[in-house]
Amino acid sequence: AAMAPGKKITARIKRTLPVKGPQAPTLSELMRWYCLNTNTHGCRRIVVSRGRLRRFLWILLTLSAVGLILWQCAELLMNYYSASVSVTVQFQKLPFPAVTICNINPYKYSSMKDYLSELDKETKKALETFYGFSEGKSKVRRSVDEWSSTGSDFFKQIPLLKFEDLSKTVTDLRSGQKRKIEGSVFHKDSSIVNSGDSNDIIGFQLCDANNSSECALYTFSSGVNAIQEWYKLHYMNIMAQIPLETKEKLSYSADDLLLTCFFDGLSCDKRHFTRFHHPLHGNCYTFNSGENGTILSTSTGGSEYGLQVVLYIDEADYNPFLVTSTGAKIIVHDQNEYPFIEDIGTEIETAAATSIGMHFTRSRKLSKPYSDCTETGADIPVENLYNKSYSLQICLHSCFQKAMVDSCGCAQYAQPLPAGAEYCNYNKNPNWMYCYYRLHEKFVKEQLGCQQICKDACSFKEWALTTSIAQWPSTVSEDWMLRVLSWDKGQKINKKLNKTDLANLMVFYKDLNERFISENPANTLVILLSNFGGQLGLWMSCSVVCVIEIVEVFFIDSLSIVMRRQWQKAKKWWNDRKRDQVGKSPQAGDLERQGHDNPVCIDEDLPTFNTALRLPLPQDNPLPRTPPPNYSTLRLETAFTEQLPDTLEVGQH
């Protein structure tokens, strides 16, 4: 009567919702009950079948069905992260890509004279020494004399060498002395050493400034490559010391490069172009860069509606050693993409009309668990040095630049500067070239780890180009065309244009069909579950309910039966011992324990025998045809008879 209200409530709950243990007393009974009542097929057959062979067969079949289900479901799980590809074509107004145009020659040779005259003189000298070549006899003679008198930094720093044979006897250009050279030999052109025929190999030596015994020797199979490479090294060294503003002035202005411009049937001019300074190509001009916020678009395909420009390529003002071809370079790219013009540019011929038809394709890959690509590049530990959206190319270049700054202490000229770094030059970093070559070697051999860190971007746009060339201007129109274009150019250049100074370029959409290739997850959770369901249903007519049943019967019930058994045994053993030893001393404790076992008081999780006993049982079983009666009767009969002594014992006390 003095029970606490909380206790009362729990007691009430326990009364109204009593906990029952498994009603089968033994494991085999439980199994039998399960097999007869389960929803899965097969198990029932085992119990129902007569004859040992048949039963055995059914056991085998059921087990193999279970095995099959497990196997197939595992297979389904493993193939969960697969993707299917879909290609859609959409005809629509397309955004026109950014078109970046550069002159192949980066800076006007005439204005670079101040910086490069020294270097050019030496290059000419080298040419004469090695190959007996001289363009104007008298001029070179004089320069040779000058050179021999003054001496020069360039050869001191990186000597050009001529290898007599592979016995490592070299002629030094400067001293003309033959000497043995030590150091590892790198062949720039091929990894295979061309022994035999070409005994005149030319190359240069790069030494570690701090440790002069460590030298790397670069050799080339052709002097053309050697001279160009050597020239470029020095050129970069010189350019690195010139500030950007000066460089921009030294290069071509928009007026210099662009003669006429026409887009989508309307005239355009330099205002539609954005200047972009490329370290190796000088001033480049990007059409439709989207810098002012608007991106032009095309709603009609065909050459008339694209971009048409006539470029002025001043062939006479080319640097003879740095670039050996004439023309322009263009690249078609997205507004957010950095134009890697030195890597993937298309070259434009002079005195020709180059028509470039574009076809637009957009691709999208699925990122993480499907493939190892990156959406924005934010998850890549390499800082993006370019002010553009992520691409694999950007990552590799940034990664190399970072390694360069870390190990050489200065930045390579062709790539943007990281914060707080400076471009390499001899005066400050006398060692940088050797360092750079070493590092580059490592980079190419994938030892820097850049290729492992950088992932490709998940989505990318591609403009497939079809390039064709026609003669331009045609012989009959050449005369008036050149006259009018000269007039267009104005009197700034007081000469009639030559057709080899001009290049006509047309960039247009071949059609406005945009192809969109995208990956889609082949499976969703819903489909996976239905596939599971299909497998379970096919082999055993099973469902989640069956799985719950299995968990219930095989884990909870079996465990509780085993526990119950153990409990009984322990109790019996205890009682026996007690009876044998003292008699009736630990009665109170016993009672208490019994109290704990009382279903009213204890937790409902582990039903013990006592709870099972105290369960309200249907006293009468009026309908014997329903399955559970089987089970209850079993409990009624066997459970009671077996456990009767125990209860009686408790009752005695």
């Binding site: 929803n39 074509v89 005239s267 355009c268 045609s474 007039w487 406005l512 299909g534 309200p616 249907p618």
Partner: protein, 637 residues
């Protein structure tokens, strides 16, 4: 008779009712259904019963939710693509070759004479601004053409009030020098060098200036407009005659090992490029197949474009224009064509890139263009539908609608004429405003649909000089002899083009679509879901439907009896002392509980005498009921 009997039986049935209540029905259903959950609800003890009830509810809602997702997936009509690459015997593409220049200058000279003189004079004025000595004893210029669309110089050196100078105006004496100077100095700033004026009508104020930054462009555009107007008056036959003839243009032809000649080409008149010749168009004869990759088995052509005969102001690029396209399709050279340069051998390796798509409802494409609301003007060439044809037809239709005449570059519908300056003086204005109208373009883009089978010919183009210095002499000699039967060399490097068109080692790349979700997929997924959560099948759904019908039946009978009871109640109210009916008496005997509530008794019970016919099914609930009742008793002891 039978029918009547049947109805009577049905009526009895109805009166009889299903014989059980909602609860009994539900319990019976749960016990006997094939779905896995419900059985558990009634079989287990009260606590588990609750758990199972919620589990079943949860599973059922899961099933329905996921069914919704699946059906949505199905209705989104996704497709999967499969890619196949390889080599197979394929139809060789149709090859269209044209000259970049539409007409022989020698043939059209008499038509363009006036125009050429005009433009020469204009150029003279532009280039040498000091007038006077230029006016020699040449015949006076026909300024009629000029006044329709004059070329002017606009000096925008002063941004706010630009000076506009007509090149042939008499009052230019003072301004000309300044203009030229202004142009040059202002080159860095804002300059419009050459301009073109188009007015809608003579003398009207409705004029626009089309600005060009380059005089070269202005002159070219102006010349094109003028020559279009002149040439549109020339009948088609005449125009064809003025163009390049097949026998002059196609010097040699070899397909695989078989020789072919200009007769194997179909002539087509293309407004941009004059006479074009199509090889293997497949209009009259079967299309040729190519079953080997490589240049040896492709098409080899030698063309002569005779560059001396080009119209100087019309086309500045010289070369052949060629295009690969499908059989029976119209070649749109401006869009898809490529150039071949004179004096070179151009090799073109072909890969057929095909995209086969499923039509409606998977994607919005058209199979043959019959469902596109634009009248296809290119059907007069017997060519198949293409998006380019649709866009051009759409533009031409707009043009006819707004300007009243058709543009020379596109085919004409019946009963409409091409535009020219005499009959339609305002056409150039109308055309240029229509051309720059974004709205009209968008209408065309929206109304045209792409075709479901999109075939592209991916070309790998490479070039080499041809003929080589050493072979030049004899090649020119033979070709000249073959063409003109003369021993003189009539050809030169600037006019001759060699073409090789062949299949690459892998000549096709086909992306074909198939439905990602079919009805079979949907059914098996639905079945899988239902089976996975509840072990159910379609039969279970039918069972459930049956139960619903049954419960409806119970409801109907209950309602009927309630109505009856209401009626009787009213009757009883009129005769308050009405004697109890027989059924009432029977009820009273069977059910003791009724004796207390004499009048408030629910009338429906009276209407439903217990029918001994159908015994209620053997519910387990019957057994369960006492089990629950006994609970407190056992606890109480």
């Amino acid at each position: 008779m039978n029918l009547k009997k049947y109805f009577i039986r049905a009526l009895h049935r109805l009166q009889k009712g299903p014989g059980y209540t909602y609860k009994e029905l539900l319990v019976w259903y749960c016990d006997n259904t094939n779905t896995h959950g419900p059985k558990r609800i009634i079989k287990e003890g009260p606590k588990k019963k609750l758990i199972w009830f919620f589990l079943t509810l949860l599973f059922a809602s899961l099933v329905f939710w996921q069914w919704g997702i699946l059906i949505n997936t199905y209705l989104s009509y996704n497709v999967t693509s499969s890619l196949s690459i390889g080599f197979k015997t394929m139809k060789f593409p149709a090859v269209t070759v044209c000259n970049a220049n539409p007409f022989k200058y020698s043939q059209v000279k008499h038509l363009l004479k006036e125009l050429d003189r005009l433009i020469e004079a204009a150029l003279e004025r532009i280039l040498q601004p000091t007038p006077g000595n230029s006016s020699e004893n040449s015949p006076p210029l026909d300024l009629g053409l000029w006044h329709q669309i004059p070329l002017v110089l606009i000096d925008e050196h002063d941004k706010d009030n630009p000076i506009i100078l007509d090149i042939f105006e008499s009052n230019h004496t003072a301004g000309d020098n300044q203009t030229a100077a202004g142009n040059e100095t202002a080159a860095g700033n804002e300059t419009a060098a050459g301009n073109e004026t188009t007015c809608s009508h003579h003398g009207s104020n409705n004029c626009t200036y089309r600005n060009f930054t380059s005089a070269a462009q202005a002159v070219t555009e102006w010349y094109i407009l003028q020559s279009t107007s002149i040439l549109s008056k020339v009948p088609l036959q005449e125009r064809i005659r003025m163009g390049y003839q097949a026998e002059d243009m196609i010097l040699a032809c070899l397909y695989g090992a078989e020789p072919c000649n200009y007769k194997n080409f179909t002539q087509i008149y293309h407004p941009d490029h004059g006479n074009c010749y199509i090889f293997n168009w497949g209009m009259d004869e079967e299309a040729l197949n190519s079953s080997n990759p490589g240049a040896e088995f492709g098409l080899k052509l030698i063309l002569d474009i005779s560059q001396q005969d080009y119209i100087p102001y019309l086309s500045s690029a010289a070369g052949a224009r060629l295009m690969l396209h499908q059989q029976k399709s119209f070649p749109f050279l401006k869009d898809q064509g490529i150039y071949a340069m004179a004096g070179t051998e151009t090799s073109i390796g072909v890969l057929v890139d095909e995209l086969e798509r499923m039509g409606y409802p998977y994607s919005d494409c058209t199979v043959n263009g019959s469902d596109v609301p634009v009248k296809n003007l290119y059907s007069q060439y017997n060519t198949s539908y293409s998006i380019q044809a649709c866009l051009r037809s759409c533009f031409q239709n707009h043009m006819i609608e707004i300007c009243g005449c058709g543009h020379y570059m596109f085919p004409l519908p019946e009963g409409v004429n091409y535009c020219n300056n005499e009959d339609y003086p305002g056409w150039a204005y109308c055309y240029s405003s229509l051309r720059s109208s974004i709205r009209h373009r968008q209408i065309c883009i929206d109304s045209c649909k792409e075709t479901c089978n999109d075939t592209q010919y991916k070309m790998t183009i490479s070039m080499a000089d041809w003929p080589s210095e050493a072979s030049e002499d004899w090649i020119f000699h033979i070709l000249s002899y073959e063409r003109d039967m003369s021993t003189n060399v009539t050809l030169d490097r600037n006019g001759i083009i060699k073409l090789n068109i062949y299949f690459q080692e892998y000549n096709y790349r086909t992306i074909s679509e198939s439905a990602a979700t079919t009805i079979v997929w949907l059914l098996s997924s639905l079945g899988g879901q239902f089976g996975f959560w509840m072990g159910g099948s379609v039969l279970c759904l039918i069972e459930f439907g049956e139960i619903i019908i049954d419960s409806l039946w119970i409801t109907v009978i209950n309602v009927i009896s309630w109505c009856k009871g209401l009626k009787q109640k009213r009757v009883q109210a009129r005769y308050p002392d009405a004697p109890p009916t027989v059924s009432e008496l029977v009820e009273a005997h069977t059910n003791l509980g009724f004796q207390h509530e004499d009048m408030g008794a629910l009338p429906r019970d009276e209407a439903l005498p217990p029918e001994p016919g159908t015994p209620p099914p053997n519910y387990d609930s019957l057994r369960v009921q006492p089990l629950d009742d006994l609970g407190p008793d056992s606890d109480a002891e």
